[in-house]
């Protein structure tokens, strides 16, 4: 049950394009062997769901970005994307791209 005032931030962490992804490659080979030849590439990443007790979406975005940058992603090899969802709406409310600028 989601309480009033609680916000959810979704953080997607992916390997930077220049980094070789052996897991993604292994998955793609498995897809091809299952007949999904149209799968041109697979990159594996991580998904974090943060429940944040902050008063506004902007606060959530700021905190999530800080958490992602400091802990969830390793900036040497990973980049991240954030989506903040209001408690009552399933769809992403706002997104921040990697440079921190709001879309």
């Amino acid at each position: 049950m989601i309480q009033e005032g609680e916000l959810k931030a979704r953080v997607f962490v992916t390997l930077k394009p220049s980094v070789f992804d052996p897991q993604g490659r292994a998955i793609m080979e498995a897809l091809h062997s299952l007949g999904y030849d149209q799968a041109a590439d697979v990159r594996q990443g991580k998904y974090f769901l943060l429940d944040l007790n902050v008063p506004s979406v902007a606060d959530a975005e700021k905190m999530a970005a800080e958490i992602a940058d400091r802990v969830l992603a390793n900036p040497v090899i990973e980049s991240f994307k954030i989506e903040v969802a209001d408690a009552t709406i399933e769809v992403a409310d706002a997104t921040i791209d990697v440079d921190g600028a709001a879309k």
């Binding site: 052996p22 390793n74 040497v76």
Partner: protein, 237 residues
């Protein structure tokens, strides 16, 4: 001489490091719990191997926030010799004390086996007794030892001679076939700019008794003792 072995929750090669330093080398050892904040009166700091915090999130990603890391950084800034072994190396990378990051081994499998590494630079506290190009037989034991950094970073590391160890064959050739995990340029270990902090994925502390397989690893720790004896404690090399 006093070795500090830092123990994080989930470290499990602290035991070997302690035995090597205390019983094989006959030195003082202080086991330092990760919540402590002081490293006074130790001469060498070892961050041992293992699975700190279960390798959850990323290897070393949580351990870098431990209270002790402030003291490790200060010790390194004073020029103190620090060696990070396997997970210890990963923690130093996550802390920003060493460059690059570790990916999963390219065959996606854990590898526990003896390999060879070539010592490329002998001007660090841990390699002063080595000869350039010396080949050491040491074991690896990791699932995420695939060293990665952006090309520009690698170029700089090579230019600054900060690649200390490379995976090689027994003849010292750093060829593809001798690379167990896919690391860029066969990099097995690097140092910081100041050359007092060294990290390597292989386990020299496990190669400290011939009857367990090899004692080639001892030279790294004897080097540290020698470097300190010659130059005095806590001076930059």
């Amino acid at each position: 001489m006093t070795f500090a072995v830092v123990v994080f929750p989930g470290s499990n090669c602290d035991h070997e490091a302690q035995y090597m330093a205390e019983t094989v080398l006959g030195q003082q050892v202080r086991m330092v719990w990760h919540k402590e904040t002081s490293l006074s009166d130790v001469d060498v700091v070892i961050l041992p191997g293992g699975f700190s915090h279960g390798d959850y999130l990323r290897t070393g990603a949580i351990a870098r926030f431990s209270p002790i890391m402030g003291a490790v950084k200060a010790f390194a800034e004073r020029g103190g010799p620090v060696i990070g072994i396997c997970n210890g190396f990963q923690i130093l990378q996550e802390s920003g004390l060493l460059p690059g990051a570790m990916l999963r081994n390219r065959d996606l499998r854990f590898h526990c086996e003896y390999i060879s590494i070539r010592v490329d630079q002998t001007d660090t506290p841990f390699t002063t007794l080595c000869t350039p190009g010396q080949v050491l037989r040491v074991p690896i034991s990791h699932g995420e030892g695939n060293f990665f950094a952006e090309t520009s970073v690698i170029d700089q590391l090579e230019k600054d001679r900060r690649v200390i160890f490379r995976y090689s064959n027994v003849h010292g050739e750093a060829i593809e076939a001798a690379n167990p995990n896919g690391s860029v340029a066969n990099i097995a270990g690097v140092c910081n700019e100041r050359r007092n902090v060294v990290g390597l994925m292989p386990h020299p502390e496990r190669a400290s008794e011939r009857r367990l397989g090899s004692d080639d690893g001892l030279i790294l720790f004897r080097s540290a003792m020698d470097a300190l004896a010659t130059r005095g404690a806590l001076q930059a090399v």
